[in-house]
């Protein structure tokens, strides 16, 4: 069963278009959305939450198709956006009490536990907190109402590696329950590489690739070739290439050139090569 099903979604703004987006997030998995600025990651998240309406296509989140009309399903969705936006003069305890008045499933003990685990300062007002602590506050709020689905939009960007690592551990803990799923977008591909089961590449409002993370290593490889060797390669196997004074680096589909010995490729390299390949 899928936690998220997106079918043929189109959405256009002046200067931007999300084209024919199809995506499935299986229950119990983490999917990473990788894309440049303006690729359509935040638009996808807003569409999922019903914050904006698609021009065409359908969206199903935890069995609900219209989140704006029936927002009750958001009891089961935890969200952390790039900017966590609480009134700035409030302290963490007050934020917790506000949330308790909004979420029926709010678990004050779980919230207090998260505040303690994440070491969020209880005596500081929201505007006095560092970005790291503000994001941690967002995570504590997102998790304290026991959601089944987490939507994270650049939630780890701008944080130091230690905080990011702590948060990723919490996310991996969250998906130990097989009914829990996460869709997270990030510029920091190493975070996605560490946490995700599936990866989706978005570029210019289109999906370039959706694949299981482990299958990526099976399907794609990297080659260092001379210009002459490059000419011998099956063009259908080439995903992208980079020419340097020392030769040509090529990302290939391994199944198209079974006789060549390839090196493993990581997600970031594959994404960069695919995007550059698209541009060429």
């Amino acid at each position: 069963m899928s936690a998220i099903e997106i079918r043929n979604i189109n959405k256009s703004y002046p200067g931007f278009e999300l084209k024919d987006l199809n995506l499935d997030l299986p229950e119990g998995t983490i999917m990473g959305l990788v894309g440049e600025n303006g690729a359509g990651k935040s638009t996808t998240m807003k569409l999922l939450l019903g914050m904006i309406r698609p021009d065409s296509g359908s969206i199903n989140v935890l069995g609900e198709t219209d989140l704006r009309a029936r927002p009750q399903i958001k009891e089961e969705i935890g969200v952390v956006m790039e900017d966590v936006s609480f009134p700035t003069v409030l302290k963490i305890g007050e934020i917790g009490r506000i949330m308790a008045g909004i979420y029926r499933n709010w678990d004050a003990d779980e919230f207090a536990r998260m505040v303690k685990v994440l070491r969020i300062p209880e005596d500081k007002k929201f505007f006095e907190m560092s970005r790291g602590n503000r994001m941690k506050t967002g995570f504590a709020c997102a998790l304290a109402h026991h959601p089944r689905l987490l939507l994270l939009d650049e939630a780890t960007s701008g944080l130091d590696p230690v905080v990011r690592d702590e948060l990723l551990d919490i996310l991996m803990d969250f998906t130990k329950d097989e009914t829990h799923s996460i869709l997270m977008s990030s510029h920091i591909v190493s975070d996605l590489e560490k946490a995700c089961d599936y990866v989706c590449f978005l570029h210019d409002g289109r999906v370039l690739l959706v694949e299981e993370k482990d299958r990526i290593r099976e399907l794609y490889g990297k080659l260092q070739v001379t210009p002459e060797q490059f000419k011998e390669l099956d063009p259908a196997a080439v995903i992208g290439r980079r020419t340097t004074p020392y030769g040509t680096e090529v990302i290939v589909r391994k199944d198209r050139i079974p006789d060549w010995d390839t090196q493993p490729v990581d997600i970031e390299e594959l994404f960069v090569f695919m995007v550059k390949g698209e541009r060429q």
Partner: protein
């Protein structure tokens, strides 16, 4: 919606304590000087502007976008704002009546007229300012609100100048009917404003 009320009450007592005290001061002044209802009405207006200030703070902190990720209907946010306006106005009126009874230096009719004016004007002011704030935001809304108020004052002056005598005669003959009509009109305007704000906010891209 309980959480939204709690948040706004917190914000009022935290960030707008001085505003609250000044509004109370004007109300007290209005009860001490009973033959001049200006201060009571001014205090009531002052209270209404608190709602606009709350909205400005929400815009600044991007709280309204955050509300969109929570299990709230957009109409819940508007409902809370209008209910809060009504509650604040009612609290202010009750306070005014209590203080008037304590000071006892005005006749009952004058106190009731002042109280009615306070209610009517704060409801009318809110009915105008809330949908404008929802549509344009509080910064742009301020300009639009000023234009609307100037137009309304202009219309009022026109009516007083050209139809003042007729209204005065009508008031002498059918005052209860006219007052009831005015009250009904204000309630209707407030209700329409409420519905309009919901409609605007539900279509808005945050």
């Amino acid at each position: 919606m309980k959480g939204l009320f709690y948040k706004d009450i917190l914000m009022l007592t935290r960030s707008f304590k001085a505003y609250l005290l000044m509004a109370l001061f004007f109300i007290v002044l209005g009860t001490i000087r009973p033959n001049n209802s200006f201060w009571a009405v001014y205090g009531s207006f002052f209270f209404v502007t608190l709602i606009s200030s709350l909205m400005a703070v929400d815009e600044q902190s991007r709280w309204l976008s955050y509300c969109d990720i929570m299990p709230l209907r957009r109409r819940d946010i508007i409902n809370e704002r209008y209910l809060l306006t009504l509650i604040l106005t009612a609290v202010l009126n009750v306070l005014f009546l209590i203080l008037s009874m304590i000071f006892r230096n005005a006749d009952r009719a004058t106190v009731l007229v002042s109280s009615g004016m306070m209610l009517a004007l704060s409801m009318l002011a809110s009915a105008i300012s809330l949908p404008i704030n929802v549509k344009f935001g509080t910064a742009k809304g301020q300009m639009v609100r000023m234009v609307v108020i100037i137009v309304m004052v202009g219309c009022g002056m026109f009516i007083i100048n050209y139809a003042g005598e007729i209204i005065e005669k009508l008031l002498q003959v059918k005052a209860p009917v006219l007052l009831a009509g005015a009250a009904a009109a204000i309630i209707l305007i407030f209700g329409l404003s409420w519905l309009l704000s919901i409609r605007i906010y539900e279509k808005k891209n945050l």
